[in-house]
């Protein structure tokens, strides 16, 4: 059980959060102009990184805000959190 530092509420137990997968996959503004391949890329293809991953979490049982987390998936250590729309901090 991680401790996640919600950028709004502070440190809370992982059970208050839900994971939202890889971050910074921006929904295409003009999906109709994408090829099937490009659309499949958006829909399904993931980096699935072993190491430093940028990902989304939602403080589902707290303030209900989505935010970004930088976590090392090889040891689950969280290096930083930052709000939606913010630039990732350097770690």
């Amino acid at each position: 059980m991680f401790i996640i530092n919600c950028p709004f509420c502070g440190e809370r137990d992982q059970s208050e959060f839900s994971a939202g997968g890889e971050a910074h996959i921006v929904r295409p503004k003009q999906p109709t102009e994408l090829s099937d391949d490009e659309w499949a890329d958006f829909l399904f293809m993931r980096k699935n990184i072993k190491g430093i991953q940028f990902e989304r979490w939602n403080h589902a049982h707290g303030c209900r805000k989505w935010f970004n987390v930088i976590r090392d998936t090889s040891n689950d250590k969280i290096h930083a959190v930052y709000k939606m729309g913010e630039k990732p901090p350097s770690i």
Binding site: D37, F44, K47
Partner: protein, 417 residues
């Protein structure tokens, strides 16, 4: 051929205090070049090598494994084998595997202790009933031996289940596949390894892949911690680490690698002689030949390569176990562990060519790869040898994520496999 395993050979060897047994497999250094290299020495990878050598006469091949063979999900799963899948494509794939399981000990002369003790899936709400009946009908028409059981029949088949109508989610019935069951997981890897090795396959342990060398759209070989190995065909069967290898080849896969946990109790005398799975309350249990209750928990929702998961998952699973089997309350958890499972968006695997020539992937088995081991190896071997999928794995191509022709087995797979 190595010495044959049998009761005769055991007795014979007992006179020499078992000091003359040969190695089950060699420990070779990699050659400079192979016809094909399989990346990943789990059950699927070793089976692939075995069938490449046996059925496709490709004997100058190697299996490279970064740790020890069978050390990944092969040795971490709850060993359930069944083929009662919904869609034709899946039913074809898993039943092909089940048929191979039925003769596997004899085929590889290694007792994998395949035990057809039956697998029962329980329904706990009306939609469960519809879904499981749908699956049972489909199975029957596909020649798979699944039958629907009423609540009373469930109780009769496994008397220790709490089928009281007063529990939170009462058992409303279930399906039973009698040919299904369990096997000894480690033995599968060891048996295939021994069989493949006997045909000349080099099994190279402690050999981690560091890169995939490409010439344009064609593979040329792999960089490993034991040096460069030249090859024209690379079959990747790296389970949770598939994306890591894909990344080396410069491609992305529709996978997420997540922790899946399991646990065993202390060993007790036989108390449950079948496998019972419940998707709705997230619990499945069987009893091993040692007497341990083998209990599968669910996956966490986040990517992790740590082979650890959240305690909440274990707690959630055990509370479901106690809901269905209140008599297990005083049993004790002996050991818990985690594996890294690679999950596809449609809960079905990928056994496919890629758009890089000579690079093949067998991945995305999620929480249920063990049961498919022989079939997966056989079909992947076919795909690698012929550079074309077998008709049984044609549906499990990578292109389905582009076309949308998914094989959605969430219903059959859910958490519990």
């Amino acid at each position: 051929m190595k010495n044959n395993y049998s009761i005769i050979s055991l007795i014979k060897n007992s006179f020499t205090y078992h000091e003359n047994w040969q190695q089950a497999w060699r420990d070779p250094e990699p050659k400079k070049e192979y016809e094909a290299v399989i990346v990943g020495g789990g059950g699927h990878g070793l089976a692939t090598a075995f069938y490449l050598a046996k059925k496709h006469n490709m004997k100058n091949i190697a299996v490279v494994e970064k740790g020890w063979i069978g050390g990944g999900n092969t040795g971490r799963n709850t060993t359930i084998i069944r083929s009662n899948y919904l869609w034709d494509a899946s039913a074809g794939l898993y039943d092909h595997a089940l048929k191979l399981w039925e003769n596997l000990s004899q085929e590889i002369n290694y007792n994998v202790m395949f035990s057809q003790r039956g697998v029962m899936n329980l329904a706990h709400n009306l939609q469960d009933v519809r879904d499981l009946k749908r699956r049972t009908h489909a199975n029957r028409l596909n020649g798979i031996d699944a039958v629907w059981l009423s609540t009373e029949e469930v109780k009769k088949f496994c008397p220790i289940i709490n089928t009281s109508p007063d529990i939170r989610y009462p058992v409303l019935g279930g399906t039973l596949q009698r040919r299904a069951g369990t096997a000894r997981h480690d033995a599968v890897a060891w048996g295939y390894a021994r069989g493949a090795d006997a045909m000349g396959v080099d099994i190279i342990q402690n050999c981690e892949v560091k890169g995939i060398k490409r010439n344009g759209d064609t593979v040329e070989g792999i960089e490993t911690t034991k040096g460069f190995i030249k090859t024209k065909k690379i079959g990747v069967v790296a389970a949770g680490h598939s994306s890591v290898i894909a990344n080396m080849a410069g491609i992305r896969l529709p996978l997420e690698s997540k922790p899946l946990q399991a646990l065993v109790s202390e060993p007790v005398k036989p108390i449950i002689d079948t496998v019972v799975m419940s998707n709705a309350v997230h619990a499945y249990v069987s009893q091993s030949d040692k007497g341990e209750l083998v209990i599968g928990a669910g996956t966490d929702a986040y990517v992790s390569y740590t082979q650890r998961g959240s305690h909440d998952i274990v707690e959630g699973t055990l509370k479901a176990i106690l809901e269905l089997y209140p008599i297990f309350s005083r049993m004790k958890m002996l050991r818990q562990w985690g594996g890294i499972v690679d999950i596809c968006p449609d809960a079905s695997p990928i056994i496919s060519k890629t758009n890089i020539k000579g690079l093949y992937f067998n991945c995305g088995w999620g929480t249920g790869g063990f049961k498919a081991t022989p079939g997966s190896g056989d079909l992947f071997a076919h795909t690698i040898a012929n550079n074309e999928p077998h008709k049984l794995n044609a549906a499990f191509n990578l292109n389905r994520f582009v076309s949308g022709d998914l094989v959605d087995e969430h219903g059959a797979a859910a958490v519990a496999h």
